[in-house]
């Protein structure tokens, strides 16, 4: 089992799927699932190994290194896991579209290039895989075609390229200064560099990672991209692709620079980590409040992705062992429940014929109970109810913020939870609760291949919430690799000197309370079942399709905060783009197509040269 085998299965599988699709579609589907499954199995076999494998290509001066350690394994397992579930989900979801070979090829290719980014040991191969990931994502964001998908894709690719160019500048500067691009060698060399140079390099790289991870000033590509992409790909996008930015930050801030250098990076009382913490806090609040005002089911989830990223950077940039564990665990948790929620949104889209507008759905709990269970568990994880995995990671982050002496950041993080409750409930209520419209009377549950990822991810949410020891042991080793001390975890809780958290106790108490109350319930008189048209309407008949409150669900709050929540960053970017387009449009008018103008340009330029020569004798 070697790393090249893993990468060749990944990439080779992508290409082979495309060609198999020309033969038969069943063969292609089966092969895609098998390929993804093989990737999961092979990646799982690498657990706990520390490998570094240089590959020398003859025409390059520098070796390309593949490596595997705990951090890479952690990210890799999330990539291949969500990739497998997404392929299984899209078997039925996408079967009526055209260009299916292209879809499967691109999905597998994106998975492969993401896998490549986390398996790199030097910056050149990191950059190569990063670029491959960027442009292949563009292909799948604009897969559906049409104005809005193309616009979303264009926004994404331009911002991503800006980030990549900043990263390229950083890489070139590092090569010029230190002569090597291997990560372990760089980690040793950069300890001796001056602080301003380190700050410059860090800012260059951070631009790329902040753009991909969609923090506050650079988040504008995310809502459009998620809303317009196909649903199985939306889950990959928000679960793992945006977290490549977090992987990049881990790589740079902790594996190359290390904790002691970061602590020295303080200019005029503002530390680099502090700036990241505040960016995270602003992202949480802004995203949570903006998500309240959305009416599109996938746009709400997209803003939710933006907001949860703030929690991760709060934990990671706070640079304590609790915070690091909390941030890393939150990456895993978020990947699970946002993937689940996008699968749910896709299931609704599949059965209702593409409806994403929350104002026109309702009452689907009676027809799609499994999807509803997935949605309620996903939303509970997003909010962070106790007994879900979101609660454990948020508890760790809050604890470190409060005890680290920064209660203002803790306040923003807490407030984000309440914003999450509001838009999470709006999502559930407008789709599943309330009155069922007449046109959806005959909707059925989604087929099993779409239910399977939903059920599996829901089970994981509850399992990691009640027994957090299972993933926390793995996260402890991630922490230890990055140089932090590990937490003491038991199977059912966390023990630390400043207070313990025992989720098994809470689970047992809740089950016991539910049991007692359920017993009282059963003992009381049985109730009759009534349907939704037998409801209180002040003595009138319940009007069909009209007795449902969904439009502007939080209307009073909406009216109060909407003027303050205009996304002025987005408006600024769009105006700036318009301005540049106008400038370029004006410059374009040089090309008139009339040959006399071109002759005049040549003559005028020659005259200018002669004038310069006569006056200043340059040549």
């Amino acid at each position: 089992m070697s790393l090249e085998l893993l990468l060749s299965i990944a990439f080779g599988g992508a290409f082979l799927t495309y060609f198999l699709g020309k033969i038969s579609s069943k063969l292609r589907n089966g092969f895609a699932v098998l390929n993804a499954l093989a990737l999961v199995v092979v990646t799982a076999m690498f657990y706990g190994q520390n490998i570094e494998k240089p590959i020398h290509i003859s025409f390059l001066n520098i070796p390309l290194i593949l490596r595997m350690n705990m951090v890479s394994w952690f990210f890799a397992i999330t990539i291949v896991g969500i990739g497998l579930l997404s392929i299984i989900y899209s078997l039925k979801y996408i079967e009526n579209e055209k260009k299916l070979d292209y879809y499967y090829f691109t999905t597998l290719f994106i998975n492969a290039s993401m896998l490549g980014t986390v398996l790199c040991g030097d910056l050149v191969s990191f950059f190569i895989f990063w670029e491959m990931m960027s442009w292949s994502t563009y292909l799948l964001i604009s897969y559906k075609g049409g104005d809005r998908a193309l616009f979303a894709g264009m926004k994404y690719i331009i911002m991503s390229i800006i980030g990549s160019m900043a990263m390229l500048l950083g890489i070139i500067s590092l090569y010029v200064n230190f002569g090597t691009l291997e990560i372990t060698a760089l980690a040793a060399h950069i300890q001796g560099a001056s602080l301003s140079y380190i700050l410059f390099i860090l800012i260059m790289f951070s631009i790329a990672f902040i753009i991909i991870n969609a923090f506050w000033p650079f988040h504008t590509w995310l809502p459009d991209a998620h809303a317009e992409a196909v649903s199985p790909f939306s889950s990959i996008l928000s679960a793992v692709l945006v977290r490549k930015g977090m992987y990049g930050l881990y790589l740079f801030m902790y594996m190359i620079l290390g904790l002691n250098v970061l602590n020295k990076l303080t200019f005029w009382g503002i530390s680099f980590n502090g700036v990241f913490c505040w960016i995270g806090a602003i992202t949480i609040i802004f995203a949570a409040l903006t998500a309240l005002l959305q009416n599109d089911s996938k746009r709400i989830l997209a803003w939710s992705t933006v907001g949860q990223g703030g929690y991760m950077i709060l934990g990671v940039a706070f640079a304590t062992s609790l915070g690091m564990a909390g941030g890393t665990f939150h990456i895993l948790n978020h990947c699970i429940y946002i993937g689940l929620l996008f699968f749910v949104a896709g299931a609704i889209e599949y059965r209702t014929g593409g409806i994403r507008d929350l104002n026109s759905l309702g009452g689907l709990i009676k027809k799609m109970p499994v999807t509803f269970t997935g949605a309620i568990i996903g939303i509970s994880g997003l909010i962070g109810l106790p007994l879900t995995n979101g609660f454990v990671s948020k508890w760790l982050i809050y604890k470190t913020l409060i005890l680290g002496g920064n209660p203002l950041l803790a306040f923003f993080a807490f407030l984000g939870t309440w914003g999450t409750i509001l838009y999470g409930y709006k999502f559930i209520h407008n789709i599943f609760l309330g009155q069922l419209p007449e046109k959806f009377k005959d909707i059925e549950e989604v087929p099993f291949s779409m239910q399977f990822p939903i059920i599996l991810l829901s089970v994981l949410v509850i399992l990691f919430g009640v027994l957090p020891g299972l993933p926390l042991k793995m996260i402890n080793s991630v922490d230890a690799y990055l140089g932090f001390e590990s937490l003491q975890v038991t199977l059912g809780g966390i023990v630390s000197e400043t207070g313990t958290l025992s989720t098994v106790n809470i689970f047992a108490a809740l089950v016991f309370a539910c049991f007692i109350i359920g017993l009282i319930f059963k003992v009381s008189r049985r109730s009759t079942k009534v349907d939704q048209y037998n409801s209180y309407a002040a003595g009138a008949a319940v009007p069909k399709d009209k007795y449902h409150y969904t439009v502007s669900f939080y209307n009073p709050l909406d009216r109060m905060i909407r003027p303050y929540l205009k996304d002025f960053v987005d408006a600024f970017y769009i105006n700036f783009t318009e301005f540049i387009k106008n400038v370029c449009n004006t410059i374009r008018r040089i090309y008139t197509g009339y040959i006399g103008n071109y002759v005049m340009y040549i003559v005028l330029f020659l005259a200018l040269l002669i004038l310069v020569q006569l006056k200043w004798s340059v040549f």
Binding site: I402, F411, I421, L433, T500, L501, L510, S527, L557, M560
Partner: protein, 312 residues
């Protein structure tokens, strides 16, 4: 983690919750110059409700109520009543703040399946009100946590018995006043009674509840009032202790009983003050409530937090 404490705490909370509901009706009646029902009237109501044959709208309609009541009982297990606190090592104030979410969420889910827009409007108002009073409440709780440098509520109560009530200590005075200003919003009494407004939205989330569901809803209402006041008394009024006069009886059954009695007396005093405000004020609209809470109590709580940060 005593078995006796685990059984006794919820029972005390249940009885006190129902007592608060009855006391509210009696005192409001006396303020109106009429006699009012007997204090045990809610118990009669609940007996009657359990003997009625209700109508149910589906599975989540029933599960939601069970979940919300179980969640409220779970919070009771985390709150110290006097010196009884069954799950004191469970994670502190953070867990309390999060388990307190299960109550409204359960009612929201079950009311949603009732397919009645009055329920949806009531729940949207409830969540908006909760978002708006959480802003000063989080600032206040963070100020208290920073002042005592611990997240365990039992620890906070013990420290108050040694160094005086939080309400009287100078850094936390502004936070205490801000908490008193938002206490009606947390309890759902006038002027912030906008959620269960009987006249506007036909009693909001409980419009389709009858029989046993309404009985559980009434118990849930009583428990929520208990939890709201208990949190305030524990954080700011010293919990079940009266200036440390129990130092001589440490670790006896007498101390537990006296602690519980002192705690309940403090809760009754705070509740009666809240009832007097309830009797006098009309009901604010939700925009007015949000505008009020996000200006004055938030400002006071924010200044209180800054003062605590500066002092430490």
């Amino acid at each position: 983690m005593n078995i006796i404490e685990i059984i006794l705490s919820p029972v005390i909370a249940l009885l006190m919750g129902l007592f608060f509901l009855g006391l509210a009706r009696k005192i409001m009646a006396r303020i109106h110059w009429r006699y009012g029902p007997p204090i045990y009237q809610p118990i009669i109501d609940i007996i009657r409700l359990f003997s009625q044959k209700a109508m149910s709208h589906g599975f989540i309609f029933e599960m939601g109520i069970i979940l919300s009541l179980a969640g409220s009982f779970l919070v009771i297990l985390f709150l110290p009543i006097g010196i009884m606190c069954p799950l004191s090592t469970g994670g502190g104030l953070l867990v309390i703040l999060y388990v307190m979410l299960l109550g409204p969420l359960g009612i929201a889910l079950s009311g949603g399946e009732a397919a009645n827009p009055n329920t949806s409007i009531g729940i949207s108002r409830k969540f908006i009100l909760a978002l708006c009073y959480e802003v000063p409440l989080l600032l206040i709780i963070l100020a208290v946590i920073t002042h005592y440098n611990t997240i365990s509520i039992v620890e906070i109560v013990n420290r108050q018995s040694m160094s005086g009530w939080s309400f009287g200590s100078l850094p936390l005075l502004l936070s205490g006043i801000a908490y008193l200003l938002i206490l009606p919003a947390i309890l759902g009494i006038r002027p912030f009674e906008v959620v269960g407004a009987a006249q506007e939205i036909s009693s909001g989330p409980s419009v389709e509840y009858g029989g046993k569901y309404l009985a559980f809803n009434t118990i849930e209402h009583g428990l929520n009032e208990f939890i709201g006041i208990a949190l305030f008394v524990n954080l700011f009024l010293g919990g079940g202790d009266l200036f440390g006069i129990f130092a001589s009886f440490v670790d006896t059954v007498l101390e537990s009983i006296l602690g519980v009695i002192v705690f309940l007396v403090k809760m009754i005093i705070v509740f009666v003050i809240g009832l007097f405000i309830n009797a006098v004020y009309p009901r604010f609209r939700i925009e007015q409530a949000v505008k009020y809470i996000w200006v004055w109590p938030t400002l006071l709580a924010f200044v209180g937090l800054i003062i605590v940060i500066i002092v430490h």
